[in-house]
């Protein structure tokens, strides 16, 4: 796991799951598991925007880029400083 994946994973565990004992990894299908709802997706986008210092347009918010932590990191890592 690279450092960007680690930061995303830590954010999800701490801020979105509130350290609930849910076993997730960079490969967990977050939406299939019902872990991300309509409020959490906004928090997640805001986190990624701060991390990458770039806005994420709505058209980029598709399952291909958000299915897993690994997918998010792959899509948005190149934009991070």
């Amino acid at each position: 796991m690279n450092s960007f994946e680690s930061r995303i994973l830590a954010f999800i565990q701490r801020e979105l799951l509130h350290d609930r004992p849910v076993d997730i990894s960079e490969d967990t299908y977050l939406f299939d598991e019902g872990l991300i709802d309509s409020l959490k997706i906004l928090q997640l986008i805001a986190f990624l925007e701060v991390e990458t210092d770039r806005p994420i347009p709505d058209r980029d918010i598709v399952m291909e880029h958000f299915r897993t932590v690994k997918a998010m990191a792959a899509r948005f890592a190149s934009r991070s400083a």
Binding site: F31, D37, S38, I41, L42, I61, M63
Partner: protein
């Protein structure tokens, strides 16, 4: 947005013909038919979160109607209210048709959007996998039906958000999870959404207290067919002669 539509000639019989087809499909699939009132209580729409999603609101039912009632913006809200608080030992498959009204343009795509239109809905409430299967099945049936009528059609994610434009989070979840697909039919140089296939997950189940026998919250979904839009697309693609032949059977 056009207020309302007046049909003439062959076109007058087409919405009824389409409704007959969708109704038959629903009954053959085991759906129970319901006839819902022409107005819906504000309390039901509030419980469904309608005004949160669409702050422009619904059309008031008007003089003579019960206080705090509206013209129905969709058929399925009635269904959740009718089932509210129930424990579903078996899955529920309902169908109903109704004249619906939408004040707000909903930021949607096209000028085929009417204030007053007729919708045939099939509503499914049950366990998540069963609801998902129903949604796929109805998408398949609608596509096959369009093919039988030699209509140019495509199924794609909806541009018209079920949960409204004000809730960005819900809209993005809808986009991410493909919670709303629509069948678009060519009508002249454009395409129009003639049916939609929706998954609400547990949104209405939670709000209306719909639970399954095992105590978990029921999932829901619906397939909705806009009868005027099928009519418009059929006439645009196939013409009046084909419509007359269709009606003769």
């Amino acid at each position: 947005m056009t207020d309302r539509l007046t049909l003439r000639g062959t076109a007058t019989a087409l919405p009824g013909w389409f409704d007959g087809q969708f109704r038959s499909m629903a009954l053959e699939a085991g759906a129970v038919e319901r006839v819902f009132p022409a107005s819906i209580p504000g309390a039901t729409l509030r419980r469904a979160g309608f005004f949160d999603a669409f702050p422009d609101g619904a059309s008031p039912a008007g003089a003579g109607a019960p206080a705090d009632s509206f013209r129905p913006p969709a058929v399925c809200y009635h269904a959740y209210a009718a089932l509210a608080g129930g424990v579903l030992e078996t899955p529920i498959l309902l169908t109903a048709a109704q004249t619906c009204f939408r004040d707000a343009d909903r930021g949607s795509d096209d000028d085929a959007r009417l204030w007053q239109f007729t919708m045939r809905e099939i509503v499914f409430v049950g366990a998540g996998p069963w609801v998902a299967e129903q949604r796929s099945t109805w998408t398949r049936r609608a596509r096959a039906f369009a093919e039988r009528l030699q209509l140019e059609a495509a199924v794609e994610p909806a541009t018209d958000p079920f949960f409204g434009d004000v809730s960005r989070g819900r809209r993005l979840i809808q986009q991410l999870k493909h919670l709303k697909d629509e069948l678009r039919l060519a009508a002249g140089p454009r395409t129009i959404a003639a049916a939609s296939f929706n998954s609400h997950e547990t949104f209405f189940g939670s709000r209306f207290g719909l639970t399954l026998g095992d105590g978990t919250v029921a999932h829901s979904g619906c397939a909705a067919f806009g009868l005027e839009r099928w009519t418009l697309a059929f006439l645009a693609q196939r013409g009046e002669d084909a419509a007359a032949a269709l009606l003769k059977g």
